[in-house]
């Protein structure tokens, strides 16, 4: 017998599966998938954007707030200058139309390469409960931009900050239908504690995550 049938047959035998009990079980499964019930959730209190910023800082991300998307390039330039990180970056093609040049930045909208030092992304939404960015992969939102460079700058629209991960799934179902290839939840810079439980930032991914919250978008 091939491994698949052998394994499933043994599971079925152990569970006492037969035609009579398979049908009601399948109906229950359909209902579960259709309603996708939530488990108990911690209360999320106060303003979502405030909570998101507070939790993000706890995860070692830095935060800036601007009023409009048009102000993002200037805020980016300020941040890069403050840490002497240069004026070049790669960004999501989705953000290609922002006035980067006016802020004195040289920004290439494309997928990231190993040599790129700064990556700028947007976000599909963000989760206040844990201070987490939710990024979806796609032609205009390549996943590597938030991963390969040493610095990750993420633009978050305040209107897209939701309470919990459950709301992020609701948004994806409502707006996209199916999941993209990769849903990446990012909570602060890459880290490791493998040597003597000493936390070090920048294990394989970015050393720093800077979040620009756009309050009017």
């Amino acid at each position: 017998m091939n491994p698949r049938d052998d394994i499933l047959d043994r599971v079925r035998r152990r569970l006492g599966r037969n035609a009579d009990n398979a049908k009601p079980a399948d109906t229950q499964i359909d209902a579960w998938l259709a309603t996708h019930p939530e488990g108990p959730r911690p209360a999320v209190r106060g303003d979502l954007a405030d909570l998101f910023c507070e939790k993000s800082r706890k995860l070692s991300s830095s935060i800036d707030t601007v009023a409009t998307l048009a102000e993002v390039p200037a805020a980016t330039a300020r941040y890069l200058a403050s840490l002497h990180l240069g004026t070049r970056a790669v960004c999501w093609p989705q953000l290609a139309d922002l006035p980067w040049g006016e802020a004195g930045l040289t920004i290439e909208p494309r997928a990231a390469l190993d040599a790129d030092l700064v990556g700028i992304t947007g976000s599909f939404c963000a989760v206040a409960e844990t201070g987490t960015l939710a990024l979806l992969s796609g032609p205009d939102t390549p996943a590597g931009v938030s991963l390969l460079p040493e610095t990750h700058i993420a633009v978050v629209k305040a209107s897209r900050i939701v309470a919990g991960m459950e709301e992020a799934w609701h948004l994806m179902r409502a707006e996209r239908g199916a999941l993209p290839r990769a849903v990446n939840f990012i909570s602060g810079p890459s880290r490791t504690g493998d040597i003597e439980q000493t936390i070090v930032l920048g294990a394989h991914g970015p050393y720093r995550v800077h979040i620009i919250v756009v309050s009017g978008a």
């Binding site: 599971v11 108990p40 911690p42 494309r110 849903v183 990446n184 920048g202 394989h204």
Partner: protein, 468 residues
Amino acid sequence: MEIRSMRFKANASAKLADAGLQRNLRKAKGKFVDTRAVAIKEIDDFEGTRRAARDLRDRVLKDLDLWLERFETQATARGATVLWARDGAEICRHVVDIARRHGVKKATKSKSMLSEEAGLNQALAAAGVEPVETDLGEYILQINDNEPPSHIIAPVMHKNVEQVADLFAKTHHKPRKTDIPQLTREAREVLRSHFLTADMGISGGNFLVAETGSVALVTNEGNGRMVTTLPKVHVVITGIEKVIPTLEDLSLLMRLLPRSATGQSISNYFSVLTGVKQPDESDGPEHLYFVLVDNGRADVVGSEYHEMLRCIRCGACMNHCPVYQSIGGHAYGWVYPGPMGSILTPLYAGIENAVDLPNAATLCGQCSAVCPVLIPLPELMRKLREEQVERKLRPLAERLALKAWAWVANRPALYALGTWFAVRYLKWLAGGGDRIRVLAAAPEWTAGRDFPAPQGKTFRELYRQRQP
């Protein structure tokens, strides 16, 4: 991986006598305990959340066959290939076949305990594929001649920075350094070049989502993202029990997993991966394979040990176990150490191959008190002990001693006489003190503690005296 659990007693004694290891263990002790205690307070109803997670896992496991079929249908619809493996040898065969099909020379790996179960690195190397572990801890072990991990979350918990410094200097041919951030940077640079040149990424899977045919991967370092974004082939190796129904269920379990494991509210990277790269996408794998593994799991379904299949591999049980904290993970002799390993090893590798493990516990109950899915670990260990007795796996001397005790205990007069002598003998042995330092009949037992001395009368004598 070779099973060395039958040498547990000798291994544990050696680990207790290893001063260096004891220093490293003392240093790590309690860190995850403290961070977890803080993190679980962020959840208003932690107990309710644990009960919901337990119920969720139980509901899936009672229809596991149907959930696996749902997962397979969804994953296949999104362009993945779902393969099945009965044991470690079949895992290796599948992965080597995939490597050959796509002309793979190098495979980067994110942590996968199942590849440890299978000894996959050796099989890949034999097939001419270079396996590279990319979790910092797993990488340190790989360059130390494929040393096994001693903890499922912190694989090199048993090593100190000096030992890591020696290994890096020897392997990387660079000046020796002992600064932990500098060592981490050195590993980052070495591993980055591997990430960029690998043709295949191999990962485990924290969960499989039936609703969407996805795998959920949790890492802090970002290596899980690297191996699933850069190479053209991605292979997920995971146990059949890892399937859960929906994305909402994933959210529920993710409130418990990082908090229970390292005391983080959430891990840095949590990815839900579905299907292959689309034609207009610039990154992501072109080929995605799932290897769904039995390796002993199917036979636990519906058995008296079925609760063990709820396990979400957080490691809280070993972080809180007084035995694990004293001897470290290697003494357990297989992939999974601590209380979870004391149950999984006999179940997956054979009860006769790990006789000491279910007995290597004080049954203090710390493990089940912290388990995020409420697995009754001490109760399962007790059941395994019972099964050992039923299958005559206990040592002959122990069996004969218990038989003799039962024979005497069934004869009240004889029992009274025996205990009358015994308590007086022990009192004499204590020489007027309240404890016996060395018990000739059980010298091992008194090696680590004293035997409290009886006061000279049996319970039945005292009881009779106090009757009005």
